[in-house]
Subunit: 312 residues, 2 copies
């Protein structure tokens, strides 16, 4: 009988691993380095070895392991095939088959942002909802859409790539993806810094931001001190994100929108700037959508990848 | 053994009914009036009676009927509960339970636009794809999102309401939904007419549209005759719809986008105006999404509601 499940979150420099019981209690977590050399060919064998060691250490019988879930940064389809993950040096191959051949337990795989969304549904800010939008405001903007308790993977694993929806026609600078006017250019930590630098250059207004370090954190710290210029920056951020989320909600009709990533550490103040724009432009059936902050932080990926196995 | 299935599409004035074999061959179709008086309380009993008569007429054994699928204009959740359908006089109740109590066969129900999308996936322009966006350009803009072969219903049945995603900040007129700047205001038949009337008033350019009847049809007929002003209108339409679809594709990562409704009768010329904007702004993973015209016309609803039963 299945008692345990492993959740794995592969990042560009470290792999996070979690050992859970099937109720979702995190019994142990640890990290190993991500060896991206030789086209990332060591990554999955390293993970398998680490899991086998943990199984031995915990004196668990392999028959008690429900499986291993894996989240990785790249498009991964519902069959567990990754379609290029440049950060890891990976081309196109089946993560599922590769790991199952070594470990002889069921393996499921998904895009890291999608899997983190599933984690927030299961044990984080989205608990109790089955239809969610999870938006992660970090260096970039990541996202995951959950529909009736399952990740919206899409045709080739690019479902929920909401950082790159087009929200502004009049943008001169390119996004990392090559397009212009992506949500990520305004709502990520980097995007907020960019908005702040622009605003400081355009405006003569006094601001505690002038002369200091400019980051999403310093902007929202200044907002909390009622700095007028910082508030203008937050309003701009809120307009793009609120409008963008209203469109995404129009497509998926969620119960809850969960906001995570480094920027979300600013806390509830974010909602003051996002929600008015969301409410103004969203279709009336979505006006009661709940907003919540993510609660799992960097553990969302290991929770979600474990859940991927249990949901299968 | 199940051999047959019924598909029902409830409209404001008529109910369309289809009798199919389980492979999806349409064996018979007919219509009955939609009696909206007395809070629409006759509608479902009328449908049940009509189906019972058809079963008798065709000398089918009830045990051979897989079930009855129903599409109706309103938010209908995945349990078959309608949450107000104003056009039919309906409040909130279970379509599924009401019809099952009379007919004693399985009943499934869904929003009419979502169900029509499922029909286009099964036997129409989206055949062969499991992840689709279907957009219906009629008096309004309706939509349906199909994820891994199933309708994206959403929390309260408002999934895929893409006519009301916000695409324009600078709109003075209200949409029927009460918001301003909805996709429907630019991409529906009514919206195209509105764009045309505006353009004709603003511009001094000669046009074969001047003095005649203005409709989506006359605009696209003029486009085919290379009328410069009509082309400007089509470009504006294409920008809103292409950009809007690029955002929706960013959320759902479809294989195919199917365009239906009265406006789609203009044919392939529509794609010339939609696709360049779509390609320009869509996330690169979605750049190869196929575009197709809907092929089932007004029968999409009966096909899709039948499929709803077979997918359950």
């Amino acid at each position: 009988m299945s008692k345990y499940v492993f959740g794995v979150d592969i990042g560009g420099t470290t792999v996070k691993l979690g050992f859970f019981d099937v109720e979702g209690n995190l019994l142990d977590k640890w990290e190993i380095p991500t060896r991206t050399e030789e086209d990332g060919s060591h990554i999955l064998p390293d993970i398998a070895k680490s899991i086998q060691e943990k199984i031995a250490e915990k004196q668990v019988n392999v028959s008690e392991v429900a499986g291993v879930g894996v989240g990785a940064p790249g498009p991964i389809d519902s069959e567990g095939v990754v379609h290029k993950a440049v950060n890891l040096g990976w081309g196109t191959f089946s993560i599922k088959n590769t790991l199952e051949d070594i470990l002889h337990v069921p393996v499921m795989a998904g895009n890291d942002a999608n899997v983190a969304a599933l984690g927030e549904m299961w044990k984080g800010g989205g608990q109790g909802s089955k239809n969610l939008i999870v938006v992660t405001l970090g260096t970039g903007v990541g996202g995951g859409i959950i529909v009736e308790g399952k990740v919206l993977t899409g045709a080739i694993g690019a479902g929920g790539e909401i950082g790159h929806i087009h929200v502004e026609d009049d943008e001169a600078e390119c996004c990392g993806c090559g397009n212009k006017g992506c949500l990520e250019q305004y709502a990520s930590a980097t995007g907020i810094t960019r908005l702040a630098v622009r605003k400081l250059a355009e405006s003569d207004k006094e601001s505690i931001l002038r002369g200091g370090e400019i980051s999403a954190k310093t902007v929202f710290d200044a907002v909390k001190q009622k700095d007028a210029l910082a508030i203008e920056i937050a309003q701009e951020f809120g307009k793009y994100l609120g409008d963008g989320l209203s469109v995404i909600a129009g497509v998926v009709n969620p119960e809850t929108i969960v906001i995570g990533g480094g920027v979300s550490k600013a806390g509830e103040v974010l909602m003051e700037y996002i929600k008015p724009h969301f409410i103004k432009n969203v279709f009336h059936a979505n006006r009661d959508v709940k907003f919540a902050l993510a609660t799992l932080g960097n553990d969302a990926g290991i929770y979600g990848s474990a859940k991927l196995v249990l949901e299968a």
